[in-house]
Symmetry: C2
Subunit: 229 residues, 2 copies
């Protein structure tokens, strides 16, 4: 039933572009705080760490929000991007697994200030319950369903050990969560239509290690010709 066919004004924004919109938004917020009223694609691109051709191409998927010969109105573009991402409204979020990382996430001020509200902290360990972290009670994991329904939570954050993560994900999906941010070092299986993004600290370090090693190898190879004696 119910085909996802018509899709109306579904400007199909490429994934790579979607991933950069929050970066542009942050750059615009910084510019606004500095009192900048207008900026060129070149200025904004520099602030966001990309080149201006890419920035203009990205923005072109949203619409025509600039003025040729002039640039972009900072506040206006900021609002348009925020609206496109969907952070003009507040998104309720639950965090499961209140260990070291869960604590850090609960206390992260960037969530609150960027359109996210932590409505619940859940942990399977009864020893954690009724502790208060960042002004929010830690509650038993079993209360997940009730909280998701009550607050219409669509986004869940998993900060549990790897062994627990799949179970948590299953329960989240069952409860109606459709988007998961996973910090546990494990591959999650989820049904179609559920989005998972993964943040993996040791994988990031391993990618860096690969490049360090390559640079070291290149340096060694180079020094043969350098004859640095």
């Amino acid at each position: 039933m119910s085909a996802r066919t018509s899709n109306d004004h579904a400007r199909d924004i490429p994934e790579a572009t979607v991933a950069r919109l929050p970066v542009y938004l942050r750059a615009l917020i910084t510019l606004a705080e500095q009192g900048t009223m207008t900026c060129s694609s070149e200025e904004l691109a520099t602030a966001a760490g990309v080149n201006s051709a890419k920035l203009r191409k990205d923005l072109s998927y949203l619409g025509s929000y600039g003025t040729r010969g002039v640039g972009y109105d900072v506040e206006y573009l900021r609002y348009q991007i925020a609206r496109e991402i969907g952070v003009t409204q507040d998104w309720p979020v639950v965090i499961v697994g209140i260990g070291n990382l869960g604590h850090a996430l609960a206390n992260y001020s960037g969530f609150r200030s960027r359109g996210f509200r932590v409505v619940a902290l859940l942990d399977a360990d009864p020893g954690m319950h009724d502790e208060v972290v960042a002004g929010v009670d830690v509650r038993p994991f079993d209360e997940l369903e009730g909280i998701v329904v009550e607050h219409s939570v669509a986004i869940g954050v998993i900060a549990t050990p790897a062994v627990a993560a799949q179970d948590v994900a299953d329960r989240m999906v069952e409860a109606g969560i459709t988007s998961i941010l996973n910090f546990a070092p494990t591959v999650l299986g989820v049904p179609d239509g559920v989005d998972v993004r993964k943040v993996d600290l040791s994988i990031e370090l391993q990618i860096l290690a690969y490049h360090v090693q390559r640079k070291a190898a290149a340096g060694l190879a180079g020094s043969v010709e350098e004859d640095s004696a």
Copy 2:
């Protein structure tokens, strides 16, 4: 001087492949722990959450480590990937900024078990000094240079507030660090040859929010045809 021309046995591995090698490595470690001796590309791909064509293509950049008709020897492939990434040796790492997130990172067991050793925790706040986190003394930020030289540190982790991050990065580069993992929500400027990877929690959530919003819009558009009354 000293061209990086010759480059010898520099099998040029695509970035997208490099980013997946640690995922394969983790899957192989899990398989090994379960007592699996041999696996097909199909099995390993499933464990890693990719399709088997992509896995085989990725592995082909490293060499020919499988056996046609049979599959891959789990321990052998595990070693080859670890060697390619460079995590057969231990990498010393410094973490700067010991707030909530820095604490969580210092305590993260995944670093130690995957080839990384936290040799120092640094913080600008004198109130933190001589505190011990995860068995390591928190030291003044000024000791960065000395520690980097003493331990030949190539990898630095920034977990400071955004305003401090660029200064920390500059000092890291000056001290000789060539790879930075940045958790501060800011774009870092670094010289050529220095690698920066960025982990940004609120950006990840914003990307999820965009997709939640799209799904909601699609659902609404669909429900017009559904006539659910």
